[in-house]
Amino acid sequence: MKSLEELKALRDKMAANMGIREDDSDNIRIVVGMATCGIAAGARPVLHALTEEVAKRGLKNVTVAQTGCIGICQYEPVVEVFCPGKEKITYVKMTPEKAVRIVNDHIVNGNPVNEYTIGSTVK
């Protein structure tokens, strides 16, 4: 460790791994359905892709969490995004590739990916 800048860079890198321990209800929450149905349909790789992408981009106020069966097993893997003060958005039949796009478009840029939502899939 030679300089304060070097320490700050290390802090920022490490802090990305620690945000998970913040007790902050203002966070955007990305919730993955991880009941038997979800896991069987491939929810685990989706969850991994989400956590990796959030970490890679150093997103601070985002929580990736898991939940039980949401009740629409035929559409698993299901991912729900809760932005504070906004209606929740439900994505269905997720894949790791789709998950990356959701982080990019929806979480970072604020544009929900309509074609993956339950509304457009059921149509």
């Binding site: 460790m1 030679k2 300089s3 304060l4 320490l7 700050k8 290390l10 802090r11 490490m14 802090a15 791994n17 620690m18 998970i20 321990r21 007790d23 209800s25 993955v32 359905g33 991880m34 009941a35 038997t36 896991i39 969850l47 991994h48 956590t51 990796e52 970490a55 929580t63 990736v64 969490a65 898991q66 939940t67 039980g68």
Partner: protein, 595 residues
């Protein structure tokens, strides 16, 4: 990248209730479920709620599991970690309201707390420097070395109003400025981690939960006063704290936070640990330094004060662990931020080790000026078994008691002194109506008699005589004149003892006499102990109306003092009775009376 962090308390409290086995079981189950790559298990420092250990918190949900048992682990792993279903029956009941899981900060125990010194305890892995760095660790040291002059550091600490957390409350910045002003070829920075007050464990918890904060603060102090060498004097009875601090020093050295030319500033600082052998007097600053020098731990007269002539005869700054734990935050967030908390003359927060007759025993950190009522009734959750609050003892053997009539006193240094107690290192023992104040005073005096180093007469002989008078009173052999003798002797010891140990030793006697004189008089005149504690003044008897002659009491009596035949009332032979109370505990009819 882990999607979930499981934090298990590895403080001494939870370790003794089995958190080590919990961690092993967790790691095994997590591996069996194939989640080792996804879920990280972290052993942290103390969460504070020691009464409910072992404690475990699972993020990102923030689910707070209390009193976790090894057999619960498979369920937590398969339900919560694998399937995302929180095991509600194992959650701390305060965090479950109307079937909703609440965050920990909303519970009664935590909502009134403000964690500054303990902010990383129970949050980071104390054996991993990177987690400390993630929470701004060593930023303050970097800022001080690259952007501030030593004088600016001292001015910041002065302006913050930080006072010594070891008990006496001396302004930290002023202490540093004295040492900085002393001219010498070598100066030292010491840390007092010889926490000896019965019931106090905040220093241990800081060292166990956040050891790097002490290292960082000591380096800052070294820079401020011009010292290149530091010593942490820690008692050997704290093995977990010693181990984590050793690991932390090693890691800090590897990272270049200790050693030569830190942050390229040209400033060198090194740190070593010295173990104390458990003598209470070594918590006194001059005795502590004498002990570090390799001599028998005995105090020496002041002045000269350590800031002028301390360790090895060189200018030395000695602060307590909790004091240091505040320093990096003050540097980073500013003196004004710190001074905005607390009361006019006592700034910031104070950690208390809450113990005795209270629901939530554990570690609490509150802003100065919080009332005793808030601590006992709200944070502490009140007194068990519907008993009434009688008094609280602060400051351990050097402090005094606060009676129920003063429960609304805002707690800070000056208010506690004014009512005859003192902050001390922060032990806070709650007593209910079953506590005898004469007995409490006797207990603390017995402790100081044991721990007096014997160097000066007022302490060595005086505390012994005080104890003998108290012992006499507690056995019903006291006279009213003894009360005057107690006061006279106590004041003599206070004004003539060499060090803080003797100067404060009579406080428990004086403060109980001040607020509970009637109890002393009851022991002397009526030969009774109102709280029913002092054995010599108790008699046990059996109410013949209530006794059914079940013979249970006669069978448990260790002294064969109870006689009687089946289905006939029994009798206690007072000459044989040991007053152990075993019969009273066993009797199902409430027939045994103690008075």
């Amino acid at each position: 990248m882990y999607r979930s962090h499981v934090l298990v308390c590895g403080g001494t409290g939870c370790t003794s209730s089995g958190s080590g086995r919990i961690v092993e079981a967790l790691e095994k189950e997590i591996a069996a479920a194939g989640l080792s790559e996804e879920v990280k298990v972290v052993k942290t420092g103390c969460f504070g709620l020691c009464a409910l250990g072992p404690i475990m918190i699972v993020y990102p949900e923030g689910a707070f599991y209390s009193m976790v048992k090894e057999k619960d682990i498979p369920e937590i792993v398969s339900e919560h970690l694998l399937k995302g279903r929180i095991v509600k029956r194992l959650l701390y009941s305060e965090t479950v309201k109307e079937d909703e899981v609440q965050s920990l900060s909303q519970t009664q125990f935590y909502s009134k707390q403000l964690r500054v010194a303990l902010r990383n305890c129970g949050v980071i892995d104390p054996e991993n420097i990177n987690e400390y760095i993630a929470y701004d660790g060593y930023q303050a040291l970097g800022k001080v070395l690259t952007e501030m002059t030593p004088q600016q550091v001292i001015d910041t600490i002065k302006a913050s109003g930080l006072r010594g957390r070891g008990g006496a409350g001396f302004p930290t910045g002023t202490k540093w400025s004295f040492a900085a002003a002393s001219v010498a070829d070598q100066k030292y920075v010491c840390c007092n981690a010889d926490e000896g007050d019965p019931g106090a464990f905040m220093d241990r918890s800081v060292l166990e939960g956040d050891p790097h904060v002490v290292i960082e603060a000591m380096a800052i102090a070294g820079y401020a006063i011009g010292a290149t060498q530091g010593y942490v004097y820690i008692r050997a009875e704290y093995p977990i704290a010693v181990k984590r601090l050793s690991i932390a020093i090693e890691q800090a050295r590897e990272m270049g936070m200790l050693g030569k030319n830190i942050f390229g500033s040209g400033f060198d600082f090194n740190l070593e640990i010295r173990l104390g052998a458990g003598a209470f007097v070594c918590g006194e600053e001059t005795a502590l330094m004498t002990s570090i020098e390799g001599h028998r731990g005995e105090p020496r007269p002041r002045p000269p004060f350590p800031a002028v002539k301390g360790l090895f005869g060189k200018p030395t700054v000695l602060n307590n662990v909790e004091t240091y734990a505040n320093v990096p935050r003050i540097i980073l967030k500013g003196a004004d931020w710190f001074a905005s908390m607390g009361t006019e003359k006592s700034k910031g927060t104070k950690v208390f080790a809450l113990g005795g007759k209270i629901h939530n025993t554990g570690l609490v950190e509150i802003p100065m000026g919080t009332t005793l009522r808030e601590i006992v009734e709200e944070i502490g959750g009140g007194i068990p078994n519907g008993k009434k609050f009688k008094a609280a003892q602060t400051g351990g053997p050097s402090g005094g008691c606060i009676p129920a009539s003063l429960i609304d006193t805002p707690i800070d240094y000056d208010n506690l002194i004014a009512i005859g107690s003192m902050m001390g290192s922060g032990g806070l023992i709650v007593m209910d109506e079953d506590t005898c104040m004469v007995d409490i005073a006797k207990f603390f005096l017995e402790f100081t008699v044991d721990e007096s180093c014997g160097k000066c007469t007022p302490c060595r002989v005086g505390t012994k005589r005080l104890y003998e008078i108290l012992d006499k009173i507690s056995k019903g052999k006291g006279e009213m004149e003894d009360l005057d003798r107690l006061v006279e002797l106590a004041n003599y010891i206070k004004s003539n003892s060499l060090c803080g140990l003797g100067q404060t030793a009579p406080n428990p006697v004086l403060s109980t006499l001040r607020y509970f004189k009637d109890e002393y008089i009851a022991h002397i005149k009526d030969k009774t102990c109102p709280a029913g504690v002092c054995k010599e003044l108790l008699t046990y008897s059996i109410d013949p109306e209530k006794c059914k002659g079940c013979t249970l009491c006669a069978r448990v009596c260790p002294a064969d003092a109870i006689s009687g035949t089946v289905k006939n009332p029994h009798k206690i032979d007072r000459n044989k009775c040991l007053k152990c109370g075993a019969c009273m505990e066993k009797c199902r009819f409430g027939a045994i009376v103690k008075n």
